[in-house]
């Protein structure tokens, strides 16, 4: 089913392309602790890739490696056919990788619109002088990027709160605004760290719908960490399972579900 060069077709008939992100033998240590042990996996164009595992398995560390926040001691990160040198996080963002955080990392003092507009900062290149007089390139960029942000705001159905300060919003909406900010940068790879943590069923359904339609309409490649197994199995095309920093499973949701090691990791196994 999985053709290395060509990609594959999912059960619902979507075409998945070649490799976007390739993690090769990644090892990440904090002092004596090995958070990630020699893990390799790939993320393909247009797919929804889930990373799951019990608490402390190293999922968030993995995401932080992808987003450039941690630099692994060993292994190589290949992004769009090129080996990535150790980069600063803001340089990774400029390559087209956007992410959301497990505990919301919005800019509380700014309005929803301004928060979403920060997602476009990598594209706004007008000089300080032009911005100071608010003429020429600065004004044109402001309007052009505002249009892109408004499309995202429209898409995520948060038009009515666009001028509200983020600090006044409830939790579920904040999560959505954070997704909007990540989407505004039109990322080539979108990383979602527990997008449904702490949500009720309706909010989870909304968020799942948004994730699916982002993938469907914009063709965005998505890698997500999630604890809700129902959500993961429904949304994702392929799943990586981690436990104690090691990869114990990789494949379609069905394959993973029937993997004995994965079952052991989640349900526990008697050591006799």
């Amino acid at each position: 089913m999985l053709d290395q060069a060509e990609g594959y077709t999912t059960a619902d008939g979507r075409k998945i392309g070649g490799t976007v992100m390739d993690m090769r033998n990644i090892t990440l240590r904090f002092g004596g602790v090995e958070a990630i042990k020699n893990i390799s996996f790939d993320i393909r164009e247009g797919e929804i890739r889930a990373i799951i595992g019990p608490n402390g398995a190293g999922k968030s560390s993995m995401l932080n490696v992808i987003s450039g926040f941690y630099v692994p001691q060993e292994g190589e990160v290949w992004f769009r056919g090129e080996k990535r040198k150790p980069l600063k996080p803001f340089e990774v963002a400029r390559q087209g990788i956007a992410r959301t955080f497990q505990n919301i990392a919005l800019f509380e003092g700014m309005s929803v619109l301004d928060n979403v507009m920060t997602g476009r900062l990598t594209e706004m290149k007008s000089g300080l002088l032009s911005q100071a007089i608010w003429r020429g390139k600065a004004e044109r960029e402001e309007v052009a990027n505002r249009e892109i942000c408004e499309r995202v705001i429209d898409f995520l159905e948060i038009q009515n709160i666009r001028k509200t300060p983020v600090s006044r919003l409830p939790y579920g909406l904040k999560k959505r605004v954070e997704l909007a900010r990540a989407l505004a940068s039109e990322p080539k790879l979108l990383l979602l760290d527990e997008p449904m943590a702490g949500m009720n069923v309706e909010e989870k359904e909304d968020m799942s719908r948004f994730i699916l339609s982002v993938n469907d309409e914009f063709g965005t490649t998505i890698a997500l960490i999630e604890h809700d197994m129902g959500v993961v199995m429904d949304l994702s095309d392929r799943v990586v399972v981690m436990d104690y920093g090691k990869k114990i499973g990789d494949g379609t949701p069905d394959e993973v579900r029937n993997n004995q090691e994965v079952i052991d990791a989640y349900l526990g196994v008697s050591h006799d």
Partner: protein
């Protein structure tokens, strides 16, 4: 009722992005500009200018500058007095070295020099934050004052160690030196304040302002979405110091005329401007005006009230004035920790619906 946005529809993002999207606000802004430029200069005398208008205008520029750094970018600075001194000494050196160039350019270049110095002293902000950064900028404050005291080149080897502004004119009208007209000095500072306020507003509502606020609110997330912390913090220090330098230059050249650095640009000045933006409201241009007005007007008002209206002895009034100003600051900060700007914002929200509760 009269202050509302209902029915005021925006059909383009340019309209929606303007500084005063609500019509009433816009007219009020034009009205204030009209009063400031066309009415006040005709009515003021030397006392009003020296006691109220010049300090208010100049402190407003300094407060806007500091607010960009502290309120918008979240980098605490206690070096304002030192940076104002850089502006003052820069304009003094320029005025005496190039007397043929217009004072307008001297002030602007003095701002530019201050912004270079500001960036140099802002470099530690890449490593340290919060109180520790405040202490690092405090070092800038003491170092700069010491420098201007100890190196005679800065005060042109004058015997007293003071610097005093020679007479300079614009369109033949003196704006510095002993023979100035009140309205001319007022207009000169007003033009600079308007210029600084408009630039500050444009920068803070645009891309660079969002970078600053992103760094202020959560620097890690800012970096993840592509903000280079180095360039964001350094532009904040540069722009902020530019305004503070202009304020320092005007404070020396137009307002005081003669300056002894330790007395005028000491640590007290840093705290005064910091108090202005805290009382006025961090992260608000209007707050910078309000804070400057509060701390400039209140002592003058109290002095006139206690001595003039109640007939108290001057020395008693002077001491009480400190206590009352201090007390009022505490009361204000307890009542509204986000400053006068927040009170203003709340009032506007109430006014939008008035006289209806919802």
């Amino acid at each position: 009722m009269f202050y509302r946005e209902a029915g005021d529809f925006k059909t383009s993002y340019v309209d929606d992005n303007q500084t005063f999207p609500i019509k009433f606000d816009r007219y009020r802004y034009y009205f204030v500009l009209f009063i400031a430029f066309a009415i006040i200069p005709l009515m003021i005398n030397s006392y009003w200018v020296k006691a109220i208008f010049l300090p208010f205008l100049i402190y407003s520029i300094a407060a806007i500058g500091l607010n960009i750094l502290v309120g918008y970018c979240g980098q605490v600075s206690l070096g304002t007095g030192g940076f104002m001194a850089v502006g003052a000494y820069a304009v003094y050196k320029l005025m005496t070295a190039f007397p043929e160039i217009n004072i307008l350019f001297h002030v602007l270049i003095a701002g530019g020099i201050t912004s270079i110095v500001g960036v140099l002293f802002g470099l530690p902000s890449l490593r340290i934050k919060g109180f520790y950064l405040a202490v690092a900028t405090l070092a800038a404050q003491f170092f700069l004052v010491w420098l201007f005291n100890r190196v005679p080149w800065f005060y042109n080897y004058s015997a007293s160690g003071q610097i005093s502004a020679p007479e300079r004119t614009i369109f033949g009208i003196a704006v510095t030196g002993p023979n100035t007209q009140s309205w001319a000095t007022y207009m000169f500072c007003l033009v600079f304040l308007t210029f600084c306020a408009i630039i500050a507003r444009n920068l803070t509502r645009g891309a660079v302002g969002r970078k600053w606020m992103a760094i202020r609110d959560m620097d890690i997330a800012a970096e993840i979405i592509g903000v280079n912390p180095l360039s964001a913090k350094m532009t904040a220090f540069a722009v902020s110091s530019f305004f503070i330098g202009i304020a320092g230059a005007l404070f020396f050249a137009v307002y005081l005329g003669a300056v002894e650095v330790g007395e005028v640009f000491g640590i007290n000045k840093s705290f005064l401007v910091l108090f202005m933006i805290i009382i006025g409201g961090l992260g608000s241009i209007f707050g910078s005006f309000a804070g400057a007005a509060f701390l400039v007007l209140l002592p003058v008002f109290l002095k006139n009230f206690l001595v003039g209206a109640l007939g108290w002895p001057t020395d008693l009034a002077a001491h009480l004035e400190f206590m009352i100003v201090g007390g009022l600051i505490v009361v204000f900060l307890i009542a509204e920790p986000h400053g006068l700007a927040q009170l203003w914002r709340v009032a506007k929200e109430k006014l939008r619906l008035w006289p209806f509760p919802y």
